[in-house]
Amino acid sequence: MRILVVDDDRRLCSIIRRGLQEEAYAVDAAYDGEEGEYLAEINPYDLIILDIMMPKKDGIQVCRALRSKKVDSLVLMLTAKDAVEDRVRGLDAGADDYLVKPFAFNELLARIRALLRREGVFKSPELQVGDLVLDTLTRQVRRGQETIDLTTKEYTILEHFMRHPNMVITRTMLEEHVWDYDFDSMSNLVDVYILRLRRKIDLEGKDSLIHTVRGAGYRLKAP
């Protein structure tokens, strides 16, 4: 899952970024409305955390502009403006959720999880394909009775697959949704990670879940 944080308070931005990275999200940050809008346009973020009071362009304007340009990333307004009118204005501008500063980090995380759930196939925090289960709350992965240990990146990739079961996922899609802006897309890192993930998931005696779609990418499918 790739998230963009737009807030002019650099300190808060870096805290959010740090906390989200810990939770295995790929995070980019922008410090004003214009920069945020630009980044949101060129990258397919799963979610954008947007402050309202920002220099150059405020969050409401950015959100409206993005929606009118058919950018359909989820938008979570995170702002110190707490009046009912402000919330209404934010949501009406196209935001999907609204969280008032100051906030507890676990609430932010829970809201992000909830928003991402809303978009996906699964409405529970547990994603399941075949006998493969991924718990987005505890970040535990099980195949049948067996727990599987994954690195953060491997987990992120698997989560992306599990949120889009039976869909062909291209390398570019993975790059865009799993790695942040600093990723060098010329490398074959994606393939390396897929290989590692396969080794861990496709246990002996069990069916293979990750299938290669020749010339396109990969697909996670129950046998």
Binding site: R11, I15, E22, M53, K56, A80, K81, P102, F105
Partner: protein
């Protein structure tokens, strides 16, 4: 009860009271003059008649035959003393009793009027005159005698009764009609008052935007527009208050958001000691920033409440500025700015040294904050009439002309991002203005975008007596 306490009601009651008094006196006057003139007319006609009677030689016979009574409805009586006896010659059916004294007076030569009642209760006006024979064919050797002429007052009484009847119907009727009219007029005149109070009642603190409709230019119209103006001021003050509260809460929430985010993130799981140290450092910095905001808000709140304690000591402005300039010079050097201490005279002002210090620190701080490296900040002092003047000039980014009227307002920022990143709060200049004004002075600014700003502080000079 509500109606009894209304102006309408009192207005009508007073109006009716005046009307009753006026109509009452008018009726009384009319009645009095009418009756007086009617009786006067009757009296003069009796006088005239008595002189006519003097010339009637056959008067005694005529009386006896009741001629006068039949023809004219009048009573004519002749009285005289005959052999010591009072003889009264009168028509047979005279139904009045004649007072002897009244007759004696007339016989004695003095004429007079009297009103008596007949046995039937009818009023009769009597006039007694000495009867002096001597008309043509007059009667000789007659005793001194008097003739009494009388006429009924029935007609006068009827006329007066008619008047009274008319008045007793017309006056109350007039009053009733006037009461209705008065009430209608009062209601009409006071209708806008009800509208005003209705509108005023509808205006709640949530919605101060309503206004009373002003249709007229009379007293009530003026009242309505006065109320509207008051409402306008209230609304503006309310909006300013809301804006201030909103700004203050936003300013306090921003560092609070960092504190809460940082601390709750740190507590998510077990971390290395160095991570905790870093988190605590961040929290500490934000807490310091918050306490600065709260300090300044308290300063302003005390100023607003008027509970501020201002010391009143003699302050040497020149000394204070030289003192501050040493600190300012260090800060300027750190940022790569030039600093110039201009002419500083030793000027005495009266006031609170700590607050004046705060005033100039804020101004110098702003000058340094908004001047890019390579620029210059300077401070100097002088006099202007009865005022000490301190001028702080920078070659910084300047203030756009459209922002200048607002920069002394609380939480006003020309560029929100830049000043927050630079550590500004947006209260510094508001406090500066408050301090200058609390000392009987003022503060002004001239600025050009890209060239720099000049802040000038005027403070009244202190003269020792």
């Amino acid at each position: 009860m509500k109606f009894v306490h209304s102006i309408k009601f009192r207005f009508t009651i007073w109006y009716l009271l005046v009307l009753v008094v006026l109509l009452g006196s008018l009726s009384a006057i009319v009645y009095f003059y009418l009756s007086r003139s009617l009786y006067q007319n009757l009296d003069s006609s009796l006088e005239l008649r008595s002189t006519q009677l003097q010339s009637i030689s056959t008067i005694v016979d005529s009386i006896r035959q009741g001629e006068f009574q039949e023809e004219l409805g009048e009573i004519v009586v002749l009285c005289f003393y005959s052999g010591g006896e009072l003889t009264i010659v009168s028509p047979m059916d005279i139904s009045i009793t004649l007072d002897n004294e009244f007759i004696a007076q007339a016989i004695g030569g003095e004429s007079s009027f009297i009103t008596v009642s007949t046995t039937e209760g009818e009023g009769v006006r009597l006039y007694a005159v000495p009867f002096l024979p001597g008309g043509p064919g007059g009667r000789p050797n007659i005793e001194p005698s008097a003739v009494i002429v009388g006429r009924s007052t029935k007609e006068i009484e009827q006329a007066l009764d008619g008047l009274v009847r008319t008045l007793t119907i017309a006056v109350p009727l007039t009053i009733v009609v006037a009461a209705g009219g008065g009430l209608f007029l009062a209601r009409q005149a006071l209708k806008p008052v009800d509208q005003i109070s209705q509108t005023a009642r509808d205006i709640s603190e949530r919605d101060l935007s309503q206004r009373i409709e002003v249709n007229t230019r009379d007293e009530l119209g003026r009242l309505a527009s006065t109320l509207n103006q008051m409402m306008e001021r209230l609304q503006r003050a309310f909006r300013r208050q809301q804006q201030f509260t909103g700004d203050a809460s936003h300013e306090l929430r921003t560092p609070l958001a960092v504190i809460q985010a940082e601390s709750s993130l740190a507590l998510q799981k077990e971390r290395a000691v160095s991570d905790y140290q870093q988190s605590l450092e961040t929290i500490n910095q934000e807490a310091e920033h918050m306490s600065l905001i709260i300090d300044r808000l308290l300063t302003l709140a005390r100023a607003d409440a008027g509970t501020e304690q201002l010391a009143s000591e003699e302050v040497n402005l020149g000394e204070l500025i030289r003192d501050l300039s040493m600190e300012a010079e260090i800060l300027c050097r750190e940022k790569g700015l030039g600093f110039q201490l201009g002419v500083t005279h030793d000027l005495a002002v009266k006031g609170d040294k700590a607050m004046l210090r705060q005033l100039f620190i804020n101004l110098l701080d702003n000058a340094i904050r908004y001047t890019p490296s390579g620029g210059t900040v300077s401070i100097s002092s002088g006099t202007e009439g009865q005022m000490a003047v301190v001028v702080i000039t920078d070659t910084g980014i300047g203030i756009p002309p459209e922002d200048i009227p607002f920069i002394f307002e609380r939480f006003y920022r020309v560029d929100k991002a830049r000043s927050r990143a630079g550590g500004g709060i947006g209260l510094g200049l508001a406090i500066c203005q408050h301090i200058a004004e609390a000392h009987g002075g003022k503060i002004g600014v001239e600025s050009q975008v890209g060239k720099g700003s000049t802040f000038t502080v005027w403070l009244p000079l202190y003269k020792q007596t």
